[in-house]
Symmetry: C3
Subunit: 398 residues, 3 copies
Amino acid sequence: MAHTNISSLLKTLAQKNVRNYGHDFLQTWDKSLAELEATLLTAEILLAAWRANLSPRVFGSGLAVSWFRDKSTRTRFSFKSAADLLGLSVQDLDEQTSQISHGETTRESANMISFLTDVIGIRDDKYLGFGHTFQKEVAAAVAEGFKDGILPQRPAVLNLQCDRDHPTQSLADLMHLQTYFGGLNQLKGKKLVMSWAYSPSYGKPLSVAQGTIGLMTRFGLNVVLAHPKGYELIPELEKQAHDFAQKSGGSFTITNDMKAAFKDADIVYPKSWASFKAMQRRASLYQRNDQAGIEKLEKAELAENAQHKNWTCTEKLMTTTKNGQALYMHCLPADVTGVSCQLGEVAASVFDRYRAETFTQAGYKPYIIAAMILLTKFGPKTATVLRRALAQREPRTL
Amino acid sequence: MAHTNISSLLKTLAQKNVRNYGHDFLQTWDKSLAELEATLLTAEILLAAWRANLSPRVFGSGLAVSWFRDKSTRTRFSFKSAADLLGLSVQDLDEQTSQISHGETTRESANMISFLTDVIGIRDDKYLGFGHTFQKEVAAAVAEGFKDGILPQRPAVLNLQCDRDHPTQSLADLMHLQTYFGGLNQLKGKKLVMSWAYSPSYGKPLSVAQGTIGLMTRFGLNVVLAHPKGYELIPELEKQAHDFAQKSGGSFTITNDMKAAFKDADIVYPKSWASFKAMQRRASLYQRNDQAGIEKLEKAELAENAQHKNWTCTEKLMTTTKNGQALYMHCLPADVTGVSCQLGEVAASVFDRYRAETFTQAGYKPYIIAAMILLTKFGPKTATVLRRALAQREPRTL
Amino acid sequence: MAHTNISSLLKTLAQKNVRNYGHDFLQTWDKSLAELEATLLTAEILLAAWRANLSPRVFGSGLAVSWFRDKSTRTRFSFKSAADLLGLSVQDLDEQTSQISHGETTRESANMISFLTDVIGIRDDKYLGFGHTFQKEVAAAVAEGFKDGILPQRPAVLNLQCDRDHPTQSLADLMHLQTYFGGLNQLKGKKLVMSWAYSPSYGKPLSVAQGTIGLMTRFGLNVVLAHPKGYELIPELEKQAHDFAQKSGGSFTITNDMKAAFKDADIVYPKSWASFKAMQRRASLYQRNDQAGIEKLEKAELAENAQHKNWTCTEKLMTTTKNGQALYMHCLPADVTGVSCQLGEVAASVFDRYRAETFTQAGYKPYIIAAMILLTKFGPKTATVLRRALAQREPRTL
């Protein structure tokens, strides 16, 4: 039965127009709806294959480089799992220092790590205005290296989180919603609240919130962005969400009232992020390596956060959602009140009730990443290559 | 000839009752004699296969996570070798801080690293009362994750050393004895001395000694535990050794006299460990992060050790063993007098004479770990799966 | 066409006498001309195979250990790429401290990491008189372990850069020259200048320069070594270069005049290295862990370097080369004037004009390393094993 399902999914995948999928996956809004749906479908096939003990190992060798400019355990594991599933071997490239490198250096580094590399996953989310720019520089560098014959193959560049988008997260989230509500079509008209929430920590990136409003508005959801004043997102991305909603028949609204936002919501996503101004200042302080300024900013930012301690996802707030049963989402790890901190983003009992759901949500990420690798590398041949692998490869475990 | 031998070992393996082997390997005393023998047999088959250039690669993909809460090079290499031999790809998870995490955090971490993971090897040996507990928590977390459908497969949890047992070491040691003396049956009645020995270092875990008395007493050896007063092991595990010896027809005695212990011994295992009280205090000091207390304890402990500088394995002492030819064992690295320290666990000439033996002893560990992976993952199907791999896979090197 | 080419290269490879290639690759001058040519040929075959989407995966499992005693990103990636290409899995062994370990410790460590290891790549280039010695110790240790039956296979030891030679670099350089000029024969009589160049950094190893004069003089080039007084290389290796040049029909001269050296050169290789005396003092200071002495030496050395700021590869200097078109080479990363430093080894416009060439040069290294692995492991069977892999293995990507 698993096999029948896989076969039918492969047929649907073959019909999606992914001719212009491109060699990189940097932002969901760079992709067409068909390309996003193909990504979800491919991830679904890979998950079904794993469950059916089939191996989609399309690579016999080749490197997958994880280029992390920030600490990470979970993303590292997701990327490693995805690479291993397809037959690629991960090589880490950790930058000890938080230096923001540019131009020449990036071009050289990108080529030096790519001679036998099929994919480069980059996480660079700390500095507003830099992460996405850096990822584009790396993509341009390997594109040029390939064009000049220096690289025998064009490595795909994947965004594992930048200052603008977090596509592996938002697509895993969408896959979760699709599964939970029974299909993408079932999401139309659903109210999803992406809400800021209090956390006693500092400097969390804006990209999860930005990724959410930039993706969910394209699938007909009624997306509400809620945050205290000062915690706005990149203006251009807010504007884009408006446009997307209009096109998809959904809606996009912004409010500074968490309670109003939660009312009758089908889905709530309460999560902390830094204030916009702090993120802007932070980038320039780090560029100048102004340690005193950084510490001062951190204090000010924590004080600013503490003004909004009532922005927390309580049981009481949850009762105001649709039938008191909105789906609670989080990209994890969450700041859970009384567990990981004194007061945080969410009440322990709420988090606990939805634990299996948030864990399941996280579990889609390796398959989304693997899907991005396949589609960036094989484009319209993806369905064919994948069918071949599943048919030819020995089962995953003997 | 190698192939004939492998075939015959596979037949013997198929007859061992491993129906209740379980999904984890935490302590040898959780396993039946048949299960331990099956582990040794599987390791033997894997070693023979490697020597015959056959590949037992039963996995086509999948992660093996090495979760180390203490620095390690050798165990890391053993685990990596075992995983690679079977086709799994290792992902390290190092905890920089010595924090002892609990409950919610462990449950989440364990699931987040396990979406495509087949085995988790954990080393957590520093704090008495915590290592084994932590490993059980991880095992419970992934068992629950699997039951809830969050994890598509149940990762096996392997103990790579905890505060109670060090099963990959003690089984490698037993494999060495089995080979050296010509079979498990030849071990009955042999006198094995697990002796404390002086070392100018601090805080070595008790688990090698505990693992030794908890395993060797089950195979009919006459096990003598020798240590200065104050260097007792966990009382419950000493008691257990008595019970095991009684059942197996061997014996278990404790003495505070190293010389008496060595007399007529067939096997000697002189090795340092921390005093029981120090280990107890240490755990609570680290829990409170009491740095001054830790330093004070370390000084007191080193002074306590220095009271027992005559507990060292000299040539003279070796002459008192059976025919002056007892087998010297060590889990390595040893503190060798005049080589790695001024005065240590063993004389340089003794260590040197048995170097090939201790190196050989260490060399069994990768196969023992690989055997544990196979048996925890495939249980009674292990012999079948392994036979299939050895028959179907191309030779290890072309 | 790719396949025809590969087939013909394999035939040529099969005719090279590599019966005494040996189990290690430590210095190019330990190898015969036929052995070096076989290394280049094997690398060429591997590159052609990669481009033709063929897989030379001759190993089904096994470890490749990267033992780094110095920070490295590029060499790490080259080694990983080479190992992965052949089916080996890399395990890193990083020594945090700069301790120069010896004797017993090395013997034990080498065996402990080698139970299922096929190759050990070592980078140990910081201390004159130590790196090569250490690599020989490791090679001797695993040779002994194999002889004693402790190791089921003999791991090859590869020099990934030591204090004397940098064979993976010099052979990649030679492969570049071979491709650029259309064959090894075309190199005879070409003037190659290995020149010291100014850099505002401290303590760069001598091994690139030594490796260059020790290899290129064997292939009939007219090699000129140019450096300021005090920046001599190991005397024995300068003498050896003279002997090599005499045998090959090329020449070897030393000059303290960069301008004279560049005149009519076909190839220029301007690169910084530390002064000979500084490197000698440095090793003994580190041995004594004399931190104050190290800092003092660093200052003196930088001041000494600054005496020779006119040793830099300018556009003007390039116009004096053969037709103003000498091939510029560098092992990368280079210190580029106005880009990575105020004043460095080379002018930005020169570096920029030859970027594609230096990147291409770097890109040969993974294949050279993989070739060394194959030849040290399979010796005269290399061509056969490689032919089998390319014929039997499924394509690299499906």
